[in-house]
Symmetry: C2
Subunit: 116 residues, 2 copies
C-alpha cells in the first residue's frame, strides 16, 4: 500500500482477535507459567503416572526451599492450572487440562503467517 508522506502509512487494523480484557486474562495465565520452576513443576505434575504428585516429591527435584516451592504451587493453583488437596499428612496436586489447553489454543491462530 503506497501512501504519501505525512499521512497515515497503512490501513487501520483489519481484525483485533484479542480484546483488551481477553489479553489481560490470558497474560495473567501466561505469567503463571512464565517461570522455569513453575514450568518444571507443571511438567512434573502432568507427567506423573496417575496424574497426582505429592509435594514431598516435588521439593527434591529443585535446589529450593520448601516455602519457595509452596509459593510457586500457589501461583499455579491461583491461576487455575493445577488443583490441590490435602490427604492425611501429604498434599497432592494435579493439573487442570482445560485451563492448560487454553494456553495451547491461544497460539494456534497466532502461528498462522498472515491474517488468513
Amino acid at each position: 500500500m503506497t501512501v504519501a508522506a505525512g499521512q497515515q502509512c497503512c490501513a487501520p487494523i483489519a481484525r483485533e482477535p484479542l480484546s483488551e480484557s481477553a489479553a489481560a486474562d490470558l497474560a495473567a495465565l501466561l505469567k503463571a507459567v512464565a517461570d522455569p520452576v513453575r514450568l518444571r513443576l507443571l511438567s512434573l505434575i502432568a507427567s506423573h503416572p496417575g496424574g497426582e504428585v505429592c509435594v514431598c516429591d516435588l521439593t527434591g527435584a529443585f535446589d529450593l526451599t520448601a516455602p519457595t516451592i509452596s509459593h510457586h504451587l500457589k501461583v499455579l493453583r491461583t491461576a487455575g492450572l493445577i488443583g490441590g488437596e490435602r490427604r492425611g499428612t501429604w498434599v497432592y496436586y494435579w493439573v487442570v487440562p482445560a485451563q492448560v489447553a487454553r494456553l495451547g489454543e491461544l497460539f494456534i491462530p497466532l502461528a498462522q503467517p498472515a491474517g488468513a
Copy 2:
C-alpha cells in the same frame, strides 16, 4: 500407594519431560508474551492482512507512549517471536510463525490428563 510415616510418600518421578535448561529456555519465551500489551501487539501483527504492520498503526491502539510500545516490540523481537525492518520512513514488523508455534506445542502434552 500406602507408605509408613516418616518415609518417602511416593515413587520417584517417572518421567521428566522438561529438562532444567529447556524449562529456562521456554520460560524466557513465555515471559515475552506474558504481558497484556505484548500479547495484543503480537495479536495485532499476526492478524494484520499481509502479515506486516507499521509501528504507527500499533501505537494508536494503546494508551501508552511510543517509547513504551517500542520497548515491548523489542522484547518480542529479542525473543525471536517477531521480526522487524525499516523501509523508508516507517518500520514494519511481522511474526515468526515457527517461534510462536513452539509455545503452542509446549502445552499439547501438558494438557493430557495423566502421564499417558
